[in-house]
Amino acid sequence: MKSFEYTIKDPVGIHARPAGLLVKEIKKYTSTVIICKGDKEVNALKLMALMGMGIKQGDTVKVNIEGADEDKAAAELEAFFKANL
């Protein structure tokens, strides 16, 4: 399993648009991606559950990636977070 931590910079947090972009991005990989905030965690493919986390600017999330392409996915997803969130 790979993981990284990231603090959300986008002033609107993980709203519909960024959440949608993220789901689209994650669909490229076979690995399972779990996003954790505090003690809550959610499969990042589940758009509405992800939006339901109410992740805001300044929140730190932990991203766990597990699967055959986890190395590639972790590197690229971290870059994606930095660029979009």
Partner: protein, 559 residues
């Protein structure tokens, strides 16, 4: 042969199959199913169809308004196939044996509630998205037709009456003409028909029976006649009439490129009213000098959430660029009254025509106003823009709106974004208060445009949507015409121009009046431009002015 008499509100003749507008059902039935696997498959098929439709909408939005507009539909797509959403529906169908419509409806309520209970207003608003997606799936399950028309060939559309939100979603390429049970000459169906240049007949009541569906119907918008299964003689007569109208049209074509000037040298500008960026082609095609009213509501009616600045900017820019420097008057948001939009969450009002609408909403909710003004000013760099505020009653409202314009310009300057310094600001004169106060209002703005539909309704205290008030709703009433003259005089004393953008502008029996009182611009539906030009060119103001003005001051009720 069956002949039905209604009231023609848009001229022309159309022949085609009769088709009843298919409205989505508002309530769903709740039943237990025996074969839950079959029910689940029924849901899966509807879900797939919804995702396909949303994909098409996204592509359409991308072409018309760019990526950010498309994204709304892509988000809806993802919601439709969301794993938790699907799982909840599956549970209700397979464990509780619920029918698919009820399962989707219950699940929608549950997810909408989740969003609604979040402490972030943006997220709370997402509950509307979940509901919208679910309504689409339920619509497919119950066989409701998206856009109201499911026919391979164009039809004559019959409806009780159409709401503005329904008219914007109609597939215009499928409509030859309109027949409505209720409605009035100022109803949205009538306005749409005139913009499209197709016949419309209103007020036929319940005379068009369900069994006529699919049969050939001929409608004559000049006479207000609806004929089903016409006999050969009648049919030939109507085909001949279509041909004659076509020839008349050709005659008018010869007026293209000619000035709108009277025999004694008075000139007047003839512009067009439009409701969407797609309407620019008929404006140019009919040789109009500009756009005198671009109703920006369609942007709001077409969206499931507040349209973004970029989305609006693209739409305004499209119209301004296509008009190639010709004047374009864009009216800021005019909703409320008979135009309601769910996501505005406006409380129900006893008397919406006199309620929270148009500029009042904008001044009460400056964030909505600011987004629109930013989009408008950014678009101003691409043509000749005039911004017009609707529903003004007081000078302070105009001052406040202008302050917002200054603020937006300062913001754009600070951000280094381009805009034109040549934007004219004007107001609609559509309340008696604005007409009476026009001497003072004229000092605040660059132009007036009279909205005669509302001005008539407020001056005469007559609801324009109420078909029963027909003879009391008289836009030729001297009270209305005297107000127009007052507005004209006050505008010219202060050196600003004045136009008419209501339906009255195209009324050829008033052209002499408008020319005599000195109206500078008439904004009409594209098809009315050339007939109006012809009328102007036949008029001699020196000859008719005294008669018209004395009629105006008399108490006769028709001019």
């Amino acid at each position: 042969m069956i002949s039905i008499q209604g009231k023609g509100v848009s001229t022309g003749v159309a022949i085609g199959p009769l088709y009843f507008y298919q409205r989505a059902k508002s309530s769903i039935t709740r039943t237990k199913v025996k074969d839950s696997d079959a029910e689940w498959n029924r849901f899966k098929a509807a879900q797939a169809k919804a995702i396909e439709q949303l994909g098409e909408l996204a592509e359409k939005a991308r072409v018309e308004a760019g990526d950010s507009a498309a994204f709304l539909f892509e988000t809806h797509q993802m919601m439709a196939e969301d794993l938790d959403y699907e799982e909840a529906i599956q549970g209700l169908i397979q464990d509780d044996k619920l029918n698919a419509e009820a399962a989707v409806s219950d699940t929608a309520a549950q997810f909408a509630e989740m969003f609604a209970s979040m402490d972030d207003p943006y997220m709370q608003a997402r509950s509307a998205d979940v509901k919208d997606v679910s309504t689409r799936i339920i619509g497919i399950l119950t066989g409701a037709v998206q856009g109201g028309i499911d026919s391979p060939v164009p039809v004559v559309l019959v409806a009780d009456d159409l709401a503005p939100s329904e008219t914007v979603q109609l597939d215009k390429s499928k409509i030859l003409g309109f027949v409505t049970e209720g409605g009035s000459g100022s109803s949205h169906t009538a306005i749409l028909a005139r913009t499209m240049g197709i016949p419309a007949i209103i007020g036929v009541g319940k005379q068009v029976k369900a069994e006529y569906a699919g049969r050939e119907v001929i409608i004559d918008g000049t006479k207000g006649e609806v004929i089903i299964d016409a006999d050969e003689a009648t049919r030939n007569l109507m085909v001949a009439k279509m041909e004659q109208l076509r020839k008349q049209r050709e005659m008018l074509e010869l007026l293209k490129g000619k000035p709108n000037v009277t025999k004694d040298g008075h000139s007047i500008r003839i512009y067009c009213n439009i409701g969407s960026p797609d309407d620019v082609a008929p404006v140019l095609g009919n040789d109009a000098g500009g756009i005198g009213l671009f109703r920006s509501e369609f942007l709001y009616l077409n969206c499931d959430d507040y349209p973004s600045e970029d989305y609006q900017f693209e739409a305004y820019k499209k119209v301004l660029s296509e008009m190639e420097g010709k004047e374009v008057v864009i009216r800021t948001l005019d909703i409320g009254a008979d135009k309601q939009i769910d996501y505005f969450d406006l409380p129900k009002e006893e008397n919406p025509a006199m309620g929270n609408r148009a500029l009042r909403i904008c001044l009460n909710r400056p964030e909505i106003f600011r987004t629109q003004l930013r989009a408008l000013y950014r678009a101003s760099a691409f043509g000749k823009l005039c911004i017009m505020f609707p529903m003004v009653t007081s000078v302070w409202e105009v001052k406040e709106a202008k302050k917002m314009c200054e603020r937006v310009k300062a913001e754009l300057t600070a951000e280094g974004k381009a805009f034109s310094n040549d934007v004219e600001l004007g107001i609609m004169i559509e309340t008696p208060a604005a007409a009476v106060m026009s001497d003072r209002l004229a000092k605040e703005v660059d132009f007036f445009s009279c909205g005669t539909n509302d001005l008539t309704q407020y001056t005469l205290a007559c609801d324009r949507q109420n078909a029963d008030l027909g003879r009391f709703f008289n836009p030729h009433h001297p009270a209305v015409l005297r107000l127009l003259k007052l507005v004209c005089d006050n505008a010219h004393k202060n050196g600003i121009w004045v136009g008419i953008c209501g339906e009255l502008g195209a009324d050829l029996s008033l052209t002499e009046t408008f020319l005599s009182i000195g109206i500078d611009e008439l904004s009409v539906s594209p098809r009315a431009v050339l007939p109006l030009r012809q009328k102007v060119r036949e008029t001699n103001v020196a000859v008719c002015r005294d008669r018209v003005l004395s009629e105006l001051m008399s108490d006769i009720n028709t001019i």
